[in-house]
Amino acid sequence: MAISVQKEDFDLGQAVRGLVGERTDIGALVTFTGLVRDTADGTLEALELEHYPAMTEKALKEIEAQAQERWNLSACLIIHRVGKLEPGDQIMMVATGSAHRRDAFEAAEFLMDFLKSRAPFWKKEHTASGADWVDARESDEEALERWQR
């Protein structure tokens, strides 16, 4: 129910506290944080995130609405950063709160699987030897298939 696309970093604890607030009906809260992972040879200088602003919010709201429809969620949050990040930096997070853990876990995985290949973000890796757009992974498309029912 909260979506933010931002350049600034975020604090996981603060985000979750803001989401839960004074509520006492949430028993289970799952978060996923995506971090900038260095290349295997340790040469990553920066990860640049481009997005399609007019579409991003629409896409994230649609993905969130689908999660709300499929699971009993009391709370849901998506934060995605854009701009230039460094290895180890936080890229994005989702948080899902529910009465029970199964809903929270499944909804968080669902959000991530859709964010990976259905939200209009593109990543470019900058290394000493140049810059390359990150290829979409076959496994990310496969991950989506299990939610088709």
Binding site: E50, M55, A59, L115, R118, P120, F121, W122, W133, A136
Partner: protein, 83 residues
């Protein structure tokens, strides 16, 4: 009709612009891409492998055979890599 076309990531780099406004009578996304490809080499290059290209019509993901009737904005980009 008048259409805004947006390009992202390496499609943007190959086409050489982020956004342009075109006059077209293309009925579908596929027609539009073919029209652009025939127009200039840089489009032909950018869209040479259509399996590596995704499109949206008015900010919603669409197939290549999607109709452009009443469309205002088309975006062309590589498969998304969010998260």
């Amino acid at each position: 009709m008048t259409l805004d076309i947006l390009y992202f990531a390496w499609v943007r780099e190959r086409v050489g612009t982020h956004k342009e406004t075109v006059e077209t009578s293309a009925a579908t996304v596929a027609d539009l891409l073919a029209e652009l490809q025939s127009r200039e080499e840089r489009y032909a290059l950018a869209f040479s492998d259509l399996s590596a290209v995704r499109v949206s019509v008015d900010q919603v993901l669409a197939d290549f055979d999607a109709s452009l009737e009443n469309a205002r904005e088309v975006a062309i980009f590589p498969p998304m890599t969010g998260g």
